[in-house]
């Protein structure tokens, strides 16, 4: 079974709706005259579940009419997804430990490969350009006290 866009939407709504109701229940609904902390999460969660079910029914109807359904996940996007998220994660891991410049280098170095088109020689130029601009804007321009290079493990 392919997960196409409408089915994915239904799944997202149902999962988050169910979570909101389940967790919201623990906060207490309160009474109608004094709604508790859990009332809004539960009501909104219920709304989400309704939307999820409606979406499911619509999907089913579309399937029965023999509509061509395409997968929600395009293969072209797998590479950018992994590299971009990996780049941000690397930045987060390095910024406290090694400082701004190494973290930026990792960010640029990894995210560069998200796009298959870029040449490797250009990478160095982009690295220098991005580091210069970021340091100019944030460190000198806005005066944010970054540690440019640190060593803390």
């Amino acid at each position: 079974m392919t997960i196409h866009a409408d089915l994915l939407a239904a799944l997202i709504f149902l999962v988050f709706g169910a979570l909101a109701i389940a967790i919201g229940y623990g906060y207490g609904f309160g009474t109608m005259a004094a709604l508790g902390s859990g009332a809004m999460p539960m009501l909104v969660g219920a709304g989400l579940c309704v939307m999820g079910v409606v979406q499911l029914v619509q999907t089913r109807a579309a399937r029965q009419t023999g509509e061509q359904l395409v997968s929600a996940f395009s293969r072209r996007e797998t590479r950018p997804l992994l590299f971009i998220l990996g780049a941000i994660l690397a930045f987060g891991l390095l910024i406290d430990r090694l400082g701004l410049l190494p973290a930026l280098a990792a960010l640029v170095g990894i995210s560069w490969f998200a796009d298959a088109g870029g040449r490797k020689l250009e990478l160095l130029a982009v690295l220098v350009a991005v580091a210069t601009l970021i340091v100019a804007i944030f460190y000198f321009g806005l005066g944010i006290p970054f540690r440019l290079v640190a060593w803390r493990f």
């Binding site: 809004m40 941000i88 796009d115």
Partner: protein
């Protein structure tokens, strides 16, 4: 205080060198991103949100507003010159604008677009100033039930108007509302959805959420898409329009301005919808509709005036009621709240400097845009040569460093990854992540007023139907929902990706 002394006070705020500088920065940036396809006002405003913490409220709001209306302006440039809309709001300008350019009349098209936009911007700004005091007086009488109903209508009609269908629209808005409830509950102080993480006690950081949902998810989607190469071949030619151009375009500008100003106020309509509608109206009102699509100057004047008028009047519900009508406006509202300013009927009394300063600065910004756009057009077109694989790396670096500066904590960076994934999933599911933002911002407002209204009515939900203003609002919401099934709105919605 009468209008003139208010405007005079606004002028004093707007012309201080610092505020002028930020206004100039805002409109310049706005023009740049308006020109660049793939980078829009939502991304740019969310990227700059973390940076505005250090500025005064006036300077940061003036700058962010400049980005918003500047982008509506800049989008027309590439539409006309290279048949490539920088923004969805200018997509319709391509039709006749680019035809004019191919006939060697790009200069005239650009000038008509710029002058028409300037006129529309002036009218739009004036409308905020005029509508402000009376509208605020009405809104002052709003109670909790009215506010809850108003938020309900704004959410529902925006959700109904977006591409992808009503069900997905409402679903995403509700999803945003769930995330909006995270953090400590205002009424009871209970921590909700914090999962024991201390960073979540104040709720999900708005700037992180915006950057993740838009910038990160957008970059991933854009890299996956094959890139169209933009080549500008046409000469700009004579800038000043002919007498005939003027004669044809001024009624179009007037109609476009009126329509845009009206549609801008409505929640959910947005800039793209206003320019598209203006074009359709102009075409059907014309005595020679066959000229449209072949370089009719009205086809440039009307939509450009409309989207610029709408980009000004969109501030009316945001500033005066505190209820944003579009996702970009929700971002602006978030920017106000970062500075501890709550937009709404009391804003004019509590922060007159900010309110009137912003209005006057928007007019100054419109003036700056004419200056920026016409003589410097060659410079902007050159921006198109920046390859996307340079651009996204810089945007990503800017996003990460900007988010990190919020609280110097790596937790925000990890949240960025989470919202990047969520934004990617929502896009893959054909849901508009922009509505998520609207739900996130409006959710807590809705909850607070809904709970208060229920307490005041001793638990009787009929309160929303018994009070006249509230009843009217609820009925409008239902009507909008019903209207989305008609073909006209469906067609408009398909064009409007705003």
């Amino acid at each position: 205080m009468d209008l003139f002394s208010s405007l005079a006070m606004g002028l004093q705020v707007a012309v201080t060198p610092v505020n002028l500088l930020y206004c100039l920065m805002g409109v310049t940036l706005g023009t740049a991103i308006g020109v660049l396809p793939g980078v829009g006002p939502i991304i740019t405003i969310s990227l700059l949100l973390p940076l505005t913490f250090g500025l005064t409220p006036e300077a940061s709001i003036i700058m962010l507003a400049g980005i918003f209306y500047g982008a509506a302006y800049g989008g027309s440039t590439t539409s006309i010159l290279v048949n490539l809309p920088g923004e969805a709001s200018s997509a319709v300008t391509c039709i006749d604008g680019h035809q004019m350019a191919r006939q060697g009349r790009a200069g005239a098209a650009l000038a008509v677009a710029a002058l028409g936009s300037f006129f529309a911007g002036t009218v739009g700004t004036l409308m905020i100033a005029l509508a402000g005091p009376p509208l605020a007086a009405i809104a002052m009488r709003f109670g909790a039930a009215e506010y809850a109903a108003l938020v309900f209508v704004a959410l529902l009609s925006t959700a109904a108007m977006t591409r992808g269908g009503v069900v997905k629209g409402i679903g995403v808005a509700l999803l945003g509302m769930v995330f909006g409830t995270a953090g400590s509950d205002v009424s009871t102080g209970l921590f909700r959805f914090t999962f024991g993480i201390p960073e979540l006690r104040d709720g999900v950081e708005f700037a992180v959420l915006a950057v993740g949902l838009f910038a990160v998810a957008e970059i991933i989607g854009n890299i996956g898409e094959p890139q169209g190469q933009a080549v500008s071949s046409s000469k700009i030619g004579r800038l000043w329009p002919t007498r005939d151009d003027f004669r044809r375009s001024w009624p179009a500008v007037l109609r476009g301005t009126g329509l845009g100003a009206l549609l801008g106020v409505l929640p959910g309509a947005g800039l793209a919808m206003s320019s598209f509608t203006a074009y359709m109206v102009e075409k059907s009102a014309s005595k020679q509709p066959e000229r449209f699509g072949k370089g009719a100057v009205e086809g440039v004047a009307a939509p450009e005036a409309a989207n610029n008028a709408a980009s000004q009047t969109a501030f009316i519900p945001t500033l005066l009621l505190g209820v944003p009508g579009s996702p970009t406006m929700a971002l602006m509202l978030g920017a106000f709240m970062i500075h501890g300013v709550q937009p709404g009927p009391r804003m004019m009394g509590d922060h007159p400097q900010l309110f009137w300063g912003l209005i006057v600065s928007m007019w100054i910004g419109n003036l700056l845009l004419v200056v920026l756009n016409l003589p410097l057009i060659g410079l902007w077109v050159r921006l198109l040569r920046v390859p996307y694989h340079w651009l996204y790396v810089f945007v990503l670096a800017f996003a990460c460093v900007g988010v990190f500066t919020l609280s110097s904590s790596a937790f925000d960076i990890y949240s960025l990854v989470f919202f990047g994934v969520l934004g990617y999933l929502l896009k893959a599911a054909g849901c508009n992540p922009a509505l998520f933002i609207l739900g996130f911002i409006l959710g807590p407002m809705f909850e607070e007023n809904f709970r208060r209204a229920m307490t005041l009515s001793r638990g009787d939900p009929m309160v929303f139907l018994e009070r006249p203003i509230s009843l009217t609002l609820v009925l409008i919401g239902v009507a909008v929902l019903a209207a989305t099934t008609t073909s006209f709105v469906r067609r408009g919605r398909a064009e409007a990706t705003d």
